[in-house]
Subunit: 622 residues, 2 copies
Amino acid sequence: MAPNPATLWGETLVEELTAGGLEAVCIAPGSRSTPLTVAFAEHPDVTVYSHLDERSAAYFALGRGRRTGEPTAVVCTSGTAAANFHPAVIEASQARVPLLLLTADRPHELRDSGANQTIDQVKLYGDAVRWYAELPDPAADERKARMLRTTAARALTKTTGTPAGPVHLNCPFRKPLEPTTVPGSVPDSFSETLAGAGRDGPFVRSSPGTVLADPGDVSIVASALEDASRPLLVAGPADPNHITGSGSNSAPHAGSAEATLGQRVVDLASRLGAAVFADPLSGVRFGPHLRADDGQAADGTARAPLVCGGYDSYAGSEQLPAPDVVLRIGASPTSKVLRHALRDADCRQFVVDPAGDWREATFTATDLVVADPDSLLESLLEAVDQTAASSDDGWLEAISTAESRYWDHVDTACTTEAIAKQPFEGAVLASVLECTPDPATVFVSNSMPIRDADRFGRPRAAELTVLGNRGASGIDGIVSTALGAGSATTEDEPLVLVTGDLALYHDSNGLLALERCGVDATIVVLDNDGGGIFHLLPIESFDPPFTEQFKTPHGLEFEPFAECYGFAYERVAPRGFESAYEHALETAGTHLICVDFDAESSHRQRETLEAAFHRTLESLSL
Amino acid sequence: MAPNPATLWGETLVEELTAGGLEAVCIAPGSRSTPLTVAFAEHPDVTVYSHLDERSAAYFALGRGRRTGEPTAVVCTSGTAAANFHPAVIEASQARVPLLLLTADRPHELRDSGANQTIDQVKLYGDAVRWYAELPDPAADERKARMLRTTAARALTKTTGTPAGPVHLNCPFRKPLEPTTVPGSVPDSFSETLAGAGRDGPFVRSSPGTVLADPGDVSIVASALEDASRPLLVAGPADPNHITGSGSNSAPHAGSAEATLGQRVVDLASRLGAAVFADPLSGVRFGPHLRADDGQAADGTARAPLVCGGYDSYAGSEQLPAPDVVLRIGASPTSKVLRHALRDADCRQFVVDPAGDWREATFTATDLVVADPDSLLESLLEAVDQTAASSDDGWLEAISTAESRYWDHVDTACTTEAIAKQPFEGAVLASVLECTPDPATVFVSNSMPIRDADRFGRPRAAELTVLGNRGASGIDGIVSTALGAGSATTEDEPLVLVTGDLALYHDSNGLLALERCGVDATIVVLDNDGGGIFHLLPIESFDPPFTEQFKTPHGLEFEPFAECYGFAYERVAPRGFESAYEHALETAGTHLICVDFDAESSHRQRETLEAAFHRTLESLSL
């Protein structure tokens, strides 16, 4: 039996969490959290990642949850340590990533009394968690212990519920915190009770359920799509349980083992003659479902699916017909052009969301379909009668032509010669998403990299799991999120992180996980010495304060980080990127490739490329 | 007139804040915060510090507020940026440091709609702020604009109220965010209104007031102290408006321009024949009030005051008489030995707190006196009749002997020869607090450094402003807090930071402020490769998991940071510290001195030293 109540609580909670399927925990050192830390460290079925900065720890756990769709726990001591989790908690909430926060706390009587490292941790993360619960004061008490075991199951289930997200268990402990024997505090007889012994497997079995659309809604959507002349499927950033990929833990969503979301989107589009605009984070733009022969339905009659990635340059264009029915799954797309085109399309738009949230900030969608997208697509594939689909061939041809011409332009701008002459950041994203061997996990930072991935990442039939933090779209925690994702992949699946210099600096502490957590990565830094994205904004023409307060050049050299955190470093000119990248991928260990760019000239090249494509578009008769 | 409503809002708010006395702002780059950033950057009366990591920015602002007692503002864009402020907000709340949080937000209609970088910022920091308010939607509307101006005054006043602390203004802005002209959006005539033009000086004048004790309470305290045989004054960590020092902004608290808190404590102790146990962060242990001649009252009859710093080794000792009346000011003392001695003293204990908070976690104090400590001391100095004071000379003599013998032991342990033979971390704190020329600001990190400062920092008649983050006592944000404090000192007042290696790593991003914010510092790193404090705890004897999960050796070299962030670096053995330190103080620019220690042997030496002193104490007849 446990030597004291705190140890009993730590062991019992960890026992239930692992029995419930928890596989990994990130722990930051601290004293008050000792019962949790000891219990996790001693449990054979859980992988412990030790972190020294709680902010990075939480983002690492977030990244792991993002990659696996399963909760990762994160443990900290009492005090501001817990507040350092807050940014990752918000990202987890908005991106629907399972995350289990275990914050140690002082016992109730020490709160608000001037006791050291004691803050108000009650509901610390406000509405950003799916559930907040406080563990009972540790004691060998049967009902309390059953409540503790039950709470573990409830917490895990809520992290993967609808929507998935963070759960916060606040865990007060009193001394002794270490496994020191306190005679009589936990009687031997306690182990003979149900509360003390638990059950074989988890004390409570639970799974989160799936939200299925009302049958009436399925019929309505199916009919509308069948009747559409120009049906468009828009796949926004996917919730983690819908990502495509081949990581060790990337089991498909419950009930959908036979196909990925991408496969279902492609099948439906094929059956309808619909175009698909697929966000790079949708799980649809990249994947084996794009292999040429996969585009054919079993009966051989279906049209090949058209999964597009160039829409940021042509959606809403006057040269192209507008969609007349839109089905949106996932979060709001990264592309502002696409969002505005959808706003202006003046057509029926179905927004599919399993949580009944409204992730469409232009407020022009007409129908909210509350349903798990995987299940809805499955239902639609059953309900849609291909022979009844009335889409206009011209619609697909026009989009197809625009898409194909778009990539011709990108190809031309991204040849070695073109890059040598006119380097721009987009070429790196084009190259990474084109050249990375599959399977691989590619984590793309916010600000410009994700926008460039959206514009320059050509759809590809490769097992690329492309991830980002698009819940709140911050540039914080990027390194840790990527490495956390990388911690969940198999050995033959490399992790690539593409980030700007500011995001790298912001979470430079996260680099410590390379060694401490045994993750290897190829880190590509688009170094334009500051906030390149501000060149996109009107503030660019107000200088001062543009340079000092927005662009914020910092002059940081990242080579010293290589020495600090133990990785290979190389700084290259844009034209040298591809060979450096290939070399890095072929060589063991972590490599950071810093590619020098001028943000302004990169942005001008994006504009030039877009203008040239628009001229091409105008010259076509679509 | 402002070119658009967002610009109008930014300009108006900044105008009122600066008119109300705001002198500095920390700004992290972002787009949504553009109206605030532009207005601050263009205002001639405010110093702008640009930061790239919001967590560090908030701690820098906290440090400045800690040093000055005046609010510093901090600005961020919408999204997780704001959550990165949370650790510093909690520290500011608990340490009562004025801090003004200005978080840009999306307009109301974009919330919870999937809009980019949009999170729920309403009451983001929960109960950790003194006031939360949301600015009205920008518009050239008279009542709204008057509300905005009034809100600025209210916010500033609440940051310095009782208790002082953080205030959060959430600031929604809609496009255009830049000073782009939107014809008609702000009519010229608006400038002729009271709302548009404001008033000369601040729109609303306000000051926070001071909480004075009820006269009856003053009499009760005065009588109890007069009647005491063994009166003890305990000065815990001071709220920022009570710190001693000579920084450019360290104006004494309103109404107390003639004397510092330290002077008043010394005067009262002298008049009563009381001993003073002064925490290193109390503003009482160091200061000109300890000069020998200052111990004498004007009439020459007073006994010299006894300000003690060695109590951690003798408070509660059976060899010494226990106090019979205790007056406590400030927060709960750093010394656990002292806190336990007070718990066990079984005597009348007055806890003085201006906010009526209870900062005494043993729950043995008998009286809560709700009063500003400065004002209460002033009242007590008027009320206490020196001739009526009945303190026992033996009491003071016993404490005095113990104190004096204690420092003999410390001196012996800290000679160059002793350190060469048996190095320990405490010697560095002893040395820093002994040798740093005055005036200086010395920031001491949490975990072991503050405990060592408490044990080994001998009371000294020098203008040392010794600061720490003892609100929540985290090891996060230490570098930034120190540099923020340093930003508020005069040129001839050096900034010294003493920190462990974990805290340095945790806020390594804060080092960027050295160059960006133009602060020089002498940074002393007690490098014991991990969490040395855990050697103090019972978990030490459980290994595993002690080393991997608690001690967490990381092997980080800090020399590369010197290259990254531009400062001189030196790694020295303990015996080489003093000369390296003196050299650093004499040389311009920032120096980081890394002193190698073994945490365990440091701790054993602390124990040895204490045991030797206890033997001495036992041998004395006190």
